[in-house]
């Protein structure tokens, strides 16, 4: 039998009830059904753990040269044996799992410690821009004052500004400290959260539960903060994970260009830069491993953001 199966109508009538709440059982079921999301969650968790405990876990001091200079990583065949030896504590010096670079610095330790900069910058910048952007977006969308709308119109004009170059300028001219990178990125990403939250708030304000809250006698600010805000955060929360990934890419790229974090602070982009010249000589390990680290980490954050977004759209 063949009949056309029509997709669900895209219309949604007005409803009196606020959107469904997130319960523990729903979360557990979601985690069980989405293996991709679980992978992303594992990656993100590892990156956060490394950001905090990286220096503790790293076998070598990331800034201290070792006698083994330009040593390649151990061959794949020898890895299981080396793992056994390490676990049994039979090794005098820890294995250089990722090899060493030109001055003998252990690449594995440097890769483990770099999240201290990359991930922390990403999370901090996103956190600041999230809080600022959503609050401003809530105000703009809820109170609909003339000044709020002009802010949005003005920000549209400045949409044309070259954000990468501007960010570079700000970072370099403020002295290239980690805090400057965080603040620059926060300034860059705030308009994103502002626009997202504002449009979400605007669509929520028309819903009946807001009117109901008003009818009961709540003050406007209370309605805004207690009722509308929690229901308007979903797009912003989804965007947060993606933004952290962007921030990591930006920090790495900036340091790669020589305009970011100052050496010798271990940072993935900087490591790739210093390893780039060695690539032509055939020494691939100084730049491949940090690159893999960036790639996997940002993919992890992207997975979370995209899977949540795909679910949210249904």
């Amino acid at each position: 039998m063949s009949s056309i199966v029509i997709p669900q109508s895209t219309e949604q009538g007005p409803s009196a009830a606020p959107p469904a709440r997130v319960t523990r059982r729903r979360v557990a079921r979601f985690l069980r059904q989405n293996w991709l999301f679980d992978i992303g969650l594992v990656i993100v968790s590892i990156s956060l753990v490394l950001a905090v405990f990286g220096p503790v876990i790293a076998p070598y001091d990331p800034q201290l040269p070792t006698p083994e200079v330009s040593a390649p990583p151990p061959s794949l065949a020898s890895v299981p044996g080396l793992i056994v030896e390490t676990v049994l504590g039979r090794r005098e010096h820890p294995v250089h799992w990722f090899g060493t670079e030109l001055t003998g610095l252990d690449i594995f330790s440097r890769v483990l410690v770099a999240p201290r900069v990359d991930v922390v910058v990403g999370v901090a910048a996103t956190a600041i821009s999230f809080v600022l952007g959503t609050l401003l977006g809530l105000l703009a969308g809820f109170f609909r004052t003339r000044s709020a709308e002009t802010i949005i119109r003005v920000s549209d004009t400045f949409q044309s500004f070259p954000i990468f170059i501007l960010a570079m300028i700000l970072v370099v001219l403020t002295g290239r400290n980690v805090i400057d990178i965080v603040l620059t990125l926060a300034a860059l990403y705030t308009p994103i959260y502002l626009r997202l939250t504002c449009s979400q708030v605007v669509s929520q304000v028309g819903r009946t539960y807001v009117e109901a809250a008003r009818a009961v006698g709540n003050r406007e600010l209370v309605i805004a903060l207690k009722h509308v805000l929690p229901n308007s955060l979903t797009p912003a929360l989804i965007q947060a994970s993606v933004t952290i990934g962007w921030a990591i890419l930006f920090t790495a790229g900036l340091t790669f260009l020589g305009a970011g974090v100052r050496p010798p602070t271990p940072e993935w982009g900087g490591m790739i830069a210093s390893g780039a010249n060695l690539l032509i000589l055939g020494e691939w390990w100084p730049s491949v491993f940090p690159g893999l680290a960036i790639s996997i980490t940002v993919v992890g954050y992207a997975i979370i953001g995209n899977v949540l977004e795909a679910r949210y759209r249904q």
């Binding site: 029509i6 997709p7 949409q159 001219l173 260009l257 690539l279 940090p290 940002v298 993919v299 992207a302």
Partner: protein, 343 residues
């Protein structure tokens, strides 16, 4: 043709350009660094500092400085923005406008080819990924676009160089668009591939294309991620829409349904491509650096790291203007496709 809307947008663009020019002026002054110190040295004598301040017109009132910058005081202080003068680079002494004229076309060349390749690949892939929303192909497309959009392009550029140049020798050394030994074709647009075609110099064209192969591959790779995602989402939305369902129930043939779907998904995708292109004017710097192409991004980095204020200012102005014009063009095309925009 929605003429009224186009004219209105053009009018707005003129206003925006003026606002941006003034904004850049104040932006440069708000930066947390001292240009005089960078030009003359931070330990210079007070006379030297005063002299330099006078040279930079920093001793004039702010509004006068703005007028000088814009070009309204050309009789007394020389040409300004309106006359096309962007100042002289502190690094090289050459007029910034000249230097940008050299570097900008290279970036445009790189970006345009990359976008062409990315679109040619991404649109069909996104389309296929939207046809059966829960199938294996769709999931694969989703995973690929997620992966591609999260990659550090500078690292991939290096990886490509390692395999295609170092290991396999398939492409020339990453030392720019032409080998240092090859003469460049006579300059018409500044884009090497275009100029060599215009001059009938096929050898030059092939060489430039060969050099551009890896950079374009790298950039197209990371661009394909967000473009595929946008195409897939929009085609899916169109396929599930009520008007497509109604068109099917009227017995419209598959080809007509396909035309409707494509037309309706095109508009938001165009907007994204425009925004990405505008972003890439400054954002392609990483690829430019890895392959030593000599584009605008590299010029920007050099200028920023050496605190070359006029050059920085010039780059910001030019890229912003470029972005504005691109976004304007996108808006106009959008209004041609979607009649609701012009209301």
């Amino acid at each position: 043709m929605p003429w009224r809307y186009i004219l209105r947008r053009l009018g707005i663009a003129v206003v925006q350009l003026t606002v941006i020019s003034v904004a850049v002026f104040f932006l440069m002054r708000a930066l947390p660094s001292d240009p005089v110190g960078h030009l003359v040295g931070f330990n210079a004598s007070p006379q030297a500092i005063a002299h330099v301040r006078h040279l930079l017109h920093l001793d004039e009132p702010v509004l006068t400085q703005l007028a000088i910058y814009l070009g309204f005081e050309s009789a007394r202080f020389g040409p300004g923005l309106i006359q096309g003068n962007l100042g002289a680079s502190w690094n090289s002494g050459a007029p910034v406008a000249e230097e940008i004229r050299t570097y900008l076309p290279i970036t445009l060349e790189l970006i345009t080819y990359s976008f062409l390749v990315a679109v040619v690949i991404a649109v069909p892939v996104g389309l296929i990924g939207a046809l059966r929303p829960r199938g294996t192909v769709s999931r694969a497309v989703f995973l690929y676009s997620l992966f591609a959009g999260a990659q550090p392009e500078f690292w991939w550029g290096l990886t490509f160089i390692f395999f295609f140049y170092v290991k396999w020798g398939l492409v020339p050394a990453p030392l720019g668009i032409l080998s240092p030994f090859s003469p460049a074709p006579p300059r018409v647009t500044g884009m090497v591939t275009v100029d060599s075609l215009l001059a009938g110099n096929l050898g030059s064209f092939v060489e430039a294309a060969h050099h551009l192969a890896l950079p374009v591959l790298t950039l197209a790779f990371v661009l394909s991620g967000p473009i595929i995602k946008m195409v897939r989402q929009n085609v899916e939305k169109a396929l599930q829409s009520d008007y497509i369902m109604y068109a099917r129930s009227c017995g419209l043939p598959q080809r007509r349904i396909a035309t409707y779907t494509l037309k309706n998904s095109l508009a938001p995708c165009l907007t994204l491509i425009g925004i990405l292109y505008a972003y890439m004017l400054g954002g392609a710097v990483l690829v430019e650096q890895v392959f030593s192409l000599g584009g605008l991004g590299q010029y920007a980095v050099r200028s920023i790291l050496s605190f070359d204020y006029p050059a920085i200012q010039g780059v910001v102005l030019v890229t912003t203007t470029g972005s504005l014009l691109i976004l304007l063009a996108i808006d106009v095309v959008h209004s041609l496709i979607d009649p609701r925009i012009a209301q």
